[in-house]
């Protein structure tokens, strides 16, 4: 057999495996650095990528405003150090925001920050949300399955290989004919493949290992996703928009979810809370009177007479956040004592037309937060006084995170 032919085949297989390797790892690589994800997790609570100010300034064109990208990286990582260093621009920002300082993100790596800045520079074009009519529809995000991509590429490669194989075969026979050599018999693809595999055991093993690796990683991802409902966006009996209420009209979360500092549940507001405002507001900006009429029906309110004349009927909402029965979660612990923002777990509802589960709400996610979050207000709360003292002695200089005071023990949430 022609050695050149063999060589070219070897080259091809190497190229193929390198491609596959790079491809598989690239998926993981990219996802680890996903700037958008980082932004949502860390920044979106206070910043938008547009112009509008949420808590901190809007970040559209921020890279052209700040002194340099290096400066911005420093700022993101530890803004208080930048302020302390006496940086003029830092002082200016502080003054612009009424002296409100940004959170310190010591845990972000340089790569993370790079990805973040890249994302902030080129945010995806936000399409204005289409007004929902009727009951909100479930709208799953269109994510292309990585497995489909792999399969597509593999199929493409197979086609490519078979074309090339046909081509070399014809060319060889043309050459053989020219030189008067006997024509090669056309062998079945399977026989040839077997022969090829027999000759390239090492490459075959490599391919199989990578293929298996790819399959397992996809299967693992799939299994880990079972029971995780991040992005769950159920339809509701009333097309209630958090964006209009909490965003446009800037109603405080606690006005409706009044249990958040007093109870383990934040509570879905009773209809009479809706009626506090909707007695006067019978027409909404998007759906007109249609949806608000449903509140009236529930409250038994007759808008014409201006009186509660009809029978009452509770509204059956669909729960967006469902924790398993064996988890005890208390809102008051996190909001009142731990001084956490609603958006940390629920996302920026001021931009959500339909409420959705913003975070994965898995145990890993809880634990992760407990491992990285310092307990705010611990120093000032007399309850923690002696504990704080003892912990500070034990973990000299380290931040006292929730887990250090037993916040990741089983019986704190499971009983």
């Amino acid at each position: 057999m022609d050695t050149r032919f063999n060589k070219s085949q070897k080259q091809k297989s190497v190229i193929f495996s390198v491609l596959l390797f790079a491809f598989l790892f690239n998926i993981n690589f990219v996802s680890a650095q996903d700037g958008e994800k980082l932004f949502k997790q860390n920044c979106a609570v206070c910043h938008s990528v547009g112009k509008n100010k949420v808590v901190g300034p809007g970040l559209e064109g921020v890279t052209s405003r700040v002194p340099s990208e290096e400066w911005m990286a420093k700022w993101i990582k530890n803004n208080s150090a930048v302020i302390k260093s006496g940086d003029a621009y830092a002082k200016k920002i502080l003054a612009e925001n009424n002296g409100m300082q940004m959170t310190v993100f010591a845990s972000l790596s340089d790569a993370d920050i790079k990805a973040l800045i890249a994302y902030i520079k080129n945010p995806p074009v936000v399409v204005a949300p289409v007004a929902q009519t009727g009951a909100g529809q479930e709208e799953a995000e269109k994510v292309i399955n990585p497995l489909a991509i792999i399969l597509g590429v593999v199929a493409l490669l197979i086609i490519l290989i078979s074309i090339l194989r046909g081509l070399t075969f014809s060319l060889k026979n043309v050459q053989n004919e020219k030189h008067g050599l006997p024509l090669e018999r056309k062998q079945g693809a399977w026989t040839e493949l077997k022969a090829w595999m027999g000759a390239h055991k090492r490459s075959v093993a490599l391919i199989v290992i990578f293929a298996l690796g790819g399959f397992l990683s996809a299967a693992w991802d799939g299994l880990m996703g079972i029971g995780v409902y991040q992005g769950y966006k159920p339809s509701q009996p009333i097309a209630f928009s958090h964006k209009i209420h909490a965003g446009d009209n800037a109603i405080n979360c606690q006005y409706c979810h009044s249990g958040v500092e007093r109870s383990k549940t934040a509570g879905i507001p009773s209809v009479n809370v809706c009626m506090n405002c909707h007695k006067g507001i019978s027409k909404g900006p998007i759906t007109g009177t249609k949806e608000i009429a449903k509140i009236y029906a529930a409250a038994g309110w007759d808008p014409d007479k201006g009186a509660y004349t009809k029978p009452q009927q509770p509204i059956i909402w669909t729960k967006v956040h469902n924790l398993p029965d064996f988890v005890f979660f208390s809102h008051q612990q996190h909001v009142k004592v731990g001084k956490q923002q609603c958006a940390t777990c629920h996302g920026d509802l001021t931009t959500m037309t339909i409420a959705q589960q913003f975070t994965p709400m898995t145990m890993g996610w809880c634990i992760n937060c407990h491992r990285t979050t310092e307990v705010p207000g611990m120093k000032d709360n007399p309850y923690y006084e002696s504990l704080h003292k003892k912990l500070s002695e034990k973990y000299k200089g380290q931040p006292i995170t929730v887990d250090k005071m037993g916040g990741i023990e089983c019986a704190k949430c499971h009983y």
Binding site: S270, V271, I316, W317, F326, Y383, E409
Partner: protein, 1084 residues
Amino acid sequence: MGKTQYWKGLDELSNSPEFVQKAENEFAEQLPLEDFLGDNNLAQNNGTNRRDFLKFLGFSVTAASLAACETPVNKALPYVVRPEEITPGVANWYASTYFDGNDYSAILVKTREGRPIKIEGNELSKVSMGGTNARIQASILSLYDSSRLTGPTANETPVTWAISDKEIINKLTAISAKGGNIRILSSTIISPSTKSVLSDFTAKYPTTKLVTYDAVSYAGITSANELTFGKAVIPSYNFAEAEVVVSIAADFLANWLSPMEYARQYAALRRVSKSHAKMSKHFHFESNLSLTGANSDEREPIKVSEQGKVAVNLYNAVAKLTGRSALSSSALACDATIANAAKELVENKGKSLVIAGSNDTNVQLIVNGINQLLENYGKTIDIENPSNLHQGNDASFAELVNEMNAGKIDAVIYYNTNPVYTAPASLKFADAMKKVKLNISFADRSDETSRYANYIFPDHHYLESWNDFNPRKGHYSLSQPTISPLFAQPRNEGTRQAQESLLLWAGISTDYHKYIQNVWSATVFPMQGKYMMFAEFWNNSLHDGAIEVATGEEKALAENSKDDKKKETKKKEDKKEEAKVVAKVDLGAVAQKVNSVKGGTFELALYEKVAIGNGNQANNPWLQELPDPITKITWDNYVTMSPADMEGKYLLMKRQDREASVVNVTVNGVTVKLPVVPQPGQAKGTVGIALGYGRDRAGLLSTQVGVVGQNVFPFIGVENGTLNYGSLDVKIEAANETTEIAGTQVHHTMMGREIVRVTSLEDYKKDPTAGNHPEMLHTNSGAVNPNTIDLWNEHDKLGHRWGMTIDLNSCIGCGSCVVSCTAENNVAVVGKKMVMNTREMHWLRIDRYYSTNWPSEVAEAREKASEKGVGIKDMYMDMENPAVENPKVVFQPIMCQHCNHAPCETVCPVLATNHSSDGLNAMAYNRCVGTRYCANNCPFKVRRFNWFNYNGNSDFKFNPTQDDLGRMVLNPDVVVRSRGVMEKCSMCVQRIQAGKLEAKKAERKLVDGDIKLACAQACPTNAIVFGDLNDDNSAIAQLRKTDERNYFILEEIGIKPTVSYLTKVRNCELEVPEKTEVKTAEKA
């Protein structure tokens, strides 16, 4: 010197081969899975084979993954208009009162989202003093009873309120117009407003009369006091001042009169410390081994017929010491103890108490005589401020039955009573009832009595009702609805409060809530001086639940028409009259009557169990599953008999917790078939049977598991106008069959270790560490306390470190904590069959150990035994048999000991159980895979495994979680465990977390007492102390540091438990003199 050894049951003592085998195989029973797979075909085909298993496996894996892929859609229903006081997720507490005609307690009701889920004692009440018993704790479940009627019925067909009200008014009007007799038959009513309602009703229908009848009557005390003092009352007893208590068969810690109050007072006097090495002395004479007898210092088993004689002999002994004339008497075996008791009593004149449980007026007269000799009236017995509980009048009840039989009664209204079930057989109440044309019942279900009634107008449950109570002169309390009626329109015709029905029929349209306010503003309000405005007074009373008013003013109000001088003179006249009446009682004649009582070969003493009581909550599975404190048997009543008597009858004594011989018990011509269990401490020639069982119409439970036990109320005799709860002529015949019984105790052996530490008061005075000597480890550097040697590192002392200590001197073993724990922690009910498989789920159990006297010279005895050719085992049997007749008893509550070096934690393969930084042994159910290694490695056997899905398996239909209504009792803060996971005491971690959170929110330090565990709260004697060991100011930290009685169970194995116990101190000699020992040994 001898050594006191404790053992758990006769089986352990005799070390029978069955017991040894069982002890070894404690967990090795074969799984009866076949019974539960439910598929008969599978069972016939020789069980599940491998292919089936793979099929099941394949199916379940597919099903599970399919199910997991779908997002569950959960709905949420907020209020339309949220009530101001309700925040979802936050508990509301309401003060209320429990009174069922028998038990009285001021309580607090915990509600969540408008449904009551837990009952706790109200400390503000001076009558119940924050105590609750098992029955009160369990009454929360009786609210959610699906057996309750949802609307009125006429002859068992549902009717509407409107129509039936009209019919009743017409019928009653017709009866009263022709002068026919109307009777209201009720258990004790202590509600002033209800009494006022009854008088309004009587005003409308003048031929009405109230007859008060209690299933368990104390009429003997009332009539004796009428004869002695001219006052037909039950006095208030003050155990808090009684340094010496002599009880003749009065079970005052469990059932007698006002047990929770007495238990708290009694326990206070039995708490000892180094600085206060003093405790009361308690003598007890009884036939059955009762809870109170078990707690006494000196207990004498006596026959039922001897109760009066003991009283007479005690009178004579006291009279002798005080220089009074004696009565005629007869010699008794226990005269020595009586003389001892008399000596102690006379030494503590005015600080002592003699009581008797007998309902015989004559016995009570003698007891009154003794208390007079001891000058106890006005000190430990208050007859001026009597108790209003137990007003039952046996004579008028008997008279009513006669009148009914004679056809003289036209209508009877039954309120809170079930006479067909509880009346003595001789009265034939059911027949009498049929002769009455109009029977109206307010029962909440179609029970034994109301099934014969023409109309049933179901009353609200007490947690749905308004009511007021006057348990003792000067003490008032209120009950308020804590949930809107479960059965109401439009879904059901609905229940209605009995008082409202009566008011309606009397033509008064005020609702009962308003009516009570009117009554209070006219009577109770003027008696107090604290509040100027009635509204303020009412709101505060309702908030506090229980109030106290000056008793003098109460009297003044009763006689407000007369001026002070007249009152003064009247008082004097009263006293003179009293004196005259007292003179009338000829104790000599009474003593002769008492002495003439002749005993039979077998005598019967009926008693109440702490769980079931008189049986009015027989449909409550929590109570049925609560083991009897003494026999530890659940789901049954039975005959208790002395082991010596049983041997004579060749009855089965082995495996007493599982299998028992059946006997036919015949009293007054009524025969009942019951299992018989050996009871050490039972007086020879006597048997005991518990009342309250055998209810065939208690509710769904009787259809789900069958009728539990046998009804022995028919055995009650009627003598001298009072109901007699004993019988002197009992025939007992072996039925030559055996039956299954379910005990919880004998399956945990003690293995000769000092799990309970006991000392005597004398020894304690000499050395506070008496009886509390830890096992020493012998090392090369000498004997070392095992606590000082450690394989592991100490835990960090950061934050909190929870600890619990139980005072064995205060614990009376009543079981209130067990039911409280069940309610708080959603503990499953497993039923008799599973209890027999040792699978009860109680997180907290109370172990009961009997004591016996170890022979003083063991080596000598061994020598003798070898000479005789008797084996060591038989030798111990021989030596200990006599002491078995009257053992001492200790109770020890055992829950997870939260070991700091927990053996369970190290063997869990999935780390489902591990240690928290605040010292708790945590159990994560969702992580548990059910290997049960932890339970096997637990030295205390406190871990409970969910063998079945008690919440869904149709074999456990009686479980509250399987019922739509019953499920409402669940505590939403505690997860309901499913099949295949291990569970155990969590030290109420939900309460700990809640208590901490309250402190954090209020930005203050956690204070000792902020957190009260369910068991500690329910304890009527405050035996359980819980707190933060790291807080130097906490009671528990102080106690651990200073109390020499503190010890840990099995500390010698190095597990460092968090729960500790305080040595039990007895106010008596622990050892029996050697001579007696030898004698008895020879006898045997």
